[in-house]
Subunit: 427 residues, 2 copies
């Protein structure tokens, strides 16, 4: 909120840019938070409509002292442009705007109907855009959505994202005695909610990564033979990259599945924090009266967080040791998405990337959720194409965020080509 | 430290009181912290020497707002005297001083040789007294030690403590990836130190209370048949009291042992805190790079914390899931004590209590450790008699601490009688 004026100036800049490109309809839509920028260039009969999404807001720059140059004064060094938002997501919004501009300036005009929605609260929860999409699904109606806000798996291997896992985020509260106890006086007979949480969590997920929640493995995401082949082909590369990124000698979890499958479509369970008792300096012998754990599950796109929550709550109650009270809260849920690699909107992206990069892209499902993608999938019911040009080492959200200039220019070429390929979709 | 002057005044008061009773030798012994008060009345040939310990310092009074009267202005209501230190331990020091004074004033003089050591740092670690005892074991030589700083099991059932468990307090550090990770991008392949701690702790102690540390059950404390009978006799009472105090419907732990045995001589393992990841408001999807647990074990008096630490460290390493780094720190250790109920010094206390209360006391081993008792046991190598007159509901360390006046007066009678009974010990 303390940068509301700066954020608004970014919105106004984007609006002017759309005006300048020639969009007949350009609006600054104000809500409770930062405004949306919406542009519409439609009316091409018989052509499909593409909804393009991006966001013009960025993460805070702290810690400022770790930046090697001013975060809002772009610095170019070799192939990299350093600035906050360079990769996430101003740079990628510029790819889209430049592609649109080049098609218009090239004299051919836009090859299909375009609706473009730029958000200013992506890094702050995206409450306004969610409300807007839900209330304006008719206005936003399109045949597919394009989101340029992700990264490729490496500089040498172009990739396209065709799936995201969903998420269920819960909090488990465990109660023992009515007050904190001294382990000298009560240790041996007292309930210890921290110990109960350890027992519970170890029962919910074992060392082998298997999750003890009914039904969690019953509706796996379907993947094509081609995608599975590509996972096997890049298995060693992916695992090597993960080991290096994490700085560990071995992967932990379901060893019988490839890393790509474990990250892309397998459900997972993680404990994010455990609160209770004493964690300060020294040796306090408290048995806490209560303890809380934050536990989330990543879900195959086939499952709804609400259904999984019910099963999870049952699992917690079934696996709790005796002698404790337990409550499970559903803090947050988001559906995953899975786009068939056979979709024409995906196949056009594959062809556009192959042309620009001279190499066929691989499909890379992302383990994280992208709420806006899930929203387009569930509310607008259209395929979502996640065509991102960032690289894994861009350092988004951190100091010295950068964007690769060669990715930037290849991105413009790819998006312009992609839009042209959609002109007469082979449907 | 901010009350150093007040604490010193308490020491000076105690010194004057010993002078007034007639102790030939009374010293205020200054060290790095608060002073010791030492009195000596020896020279009775052929009589045993008793070393009496107490402490004149108290816990802080916070939260002051919860006190119903000034903590340092004693208030009497019915049988209770409310004040900080009323029970722990000023009131019980007064029992000893009053018993000594009554014997002297009664004209008979002290029945045996007395050395009395009053500490001013019991609530702050007791570093000075530990050093003093270690360096002055010759001066403090005695046949037994008497400590009046504990409580009886109930108002209607007098008890005497004949054993304390030892303690080993550790910290377990678990390291995973080189930095915190996002569960979307890495969940499914990443080490999660919090999950590893849950697995580890659940393996170190199961729901049945059994501890997986080699040798932990190999040298149990020996108890007399009489003591075991008394445990069985009071089993229901003790369990009922524990359930009420904890406000729970069932005890947790080794159900095949009585509560008295589980609290008094069985080893236990407790987790006191787990630190790592995110425990604030909301739903942060972090997989932490590291996590720490505070874990302690209560030990039978037969075991040394150092030996158990070695076994514990081995157990941690043996039970850690694969893919993690782990370190175990020994934060603190203290030996337990076990005094045979056959000891003449214990039997005299039993008789004195029986005379005053009209009821035979039961033996009640305490689950907590009392460092000074362990020190007298290990350095001076004398039996330690823990003859306390507090009650479980005295609220020591909390607001509105109280002491029962009837316990106070019975205490004086009992201690005076006890000292007389030691005059010609049946050795």
């Amino acid at each position: 909120p303390e940068h509301a004026d700066d954020v608004r100036r970014a919105a106004q800049w984007a609006k002017k840019k759309l005006d300048k490109i020639g969009f007949p309809v350009v609006e600054l839509i104000s809500g409770e938070g930062h405004p949306l920028v919406y542009g519409e260039w439609i009316g091409l009969e018989g052509q499909p409509t593409l909804l393009i999404y991006g966001h013009y807001d960025v993460q805070p720059v702290d810690p400022l002292t770790e930046w090697q140059s001013e975060p809002f004064s772009p610095r170019i060094d070799g192939d990299s442009l350093y600035a906050r938002g360079a990769s996430d997501d101003k740079g990628q919004v510029m790819i889209v705007l430049s592609a649109l501009e080049s098609l218009v300036r090239g004299g051919e005009g836009l090859p299909l109907n375009i609706k473009i929605l730029l958000e200013g609260e992506e890094e702050a929860g995206g409450a306004f855009v969610e409300k807007y999409v839900c209330q304006n699904s008719e206005r936003l109606r399109a045949d597919a959505a394009l989101i340029c806000d992700t990264h490729m798996i490496s500089r040498t291997q172009p990739s396209i994202i065709n799936g995201l896992r969903g998420i269920l985020y819960t909090e488990i509260w465990v109660g023992g005695a009515k007050s904190d106890l001294h382990s000298g006086s009560y240790g041996g007979v007292a309930p210890n909610p921290l110990h109960a949480l350890c027992l519970l969590i170890s029962r919910l997920k074992g060392e082998d990564g298997r999750i003890a929640v009914d039904g969690i493995y019953d509706s796996p995401v379907k993947v094509t033979v081609e995608e599975r082949k590509s996972w096997e082909l890049f298995r060693m590369d992916v695992e090597k990259r993960l080991l290096a990124e994490m700085g560990v000698p071995e992967l932990v979890g379901e060893k019988e599945y490839s890393a790509a499958e474990r990250l892309g479509i397998r459900p997972t369970l993680e404990v994010h924090g455990i609160k209770g008792g004493f964690t300060g300096y020294g040796a306090k012998t408290v048995i806490p009266a209560e303890a809380v754990a934050k536990v989330s599950l990543r879900l195959p796109a086939t499952m709804t967080p609400a259904d999984v929550f019910a099963a999870f709550e049952n699992a917690v109650k079934a696996h709790m040791p005796a002698g404790y009270r337990v409550e499970v809260k559903n803090l947050h849920g988001g559906r995953g998405i899975s786009v068939s690699s056979d979709s024409v909107f995906i196949q056009a992206a594959v062809s556009a990337i192959e042309k620009t990069y001279g190499k066929k892209p691989v499909f890379a499902r992302e383990g994280g959720s992208i709420p806006i993608a899930a929203l387009f999938d569930s509310i607008l019911k259209i395929p979502v194409v996640l065509l991102g040009f960032g690289l894994p080492d861009d350092g988004v959200h951190g100091p010295n965020e950068k964007f690769s200039l060669s990715q930037f220019f290849k991105g413009i070429e790819t998006v312009a080509d992609y839009l042209q390929r959609l002109r007469h979709p082979a449907r």
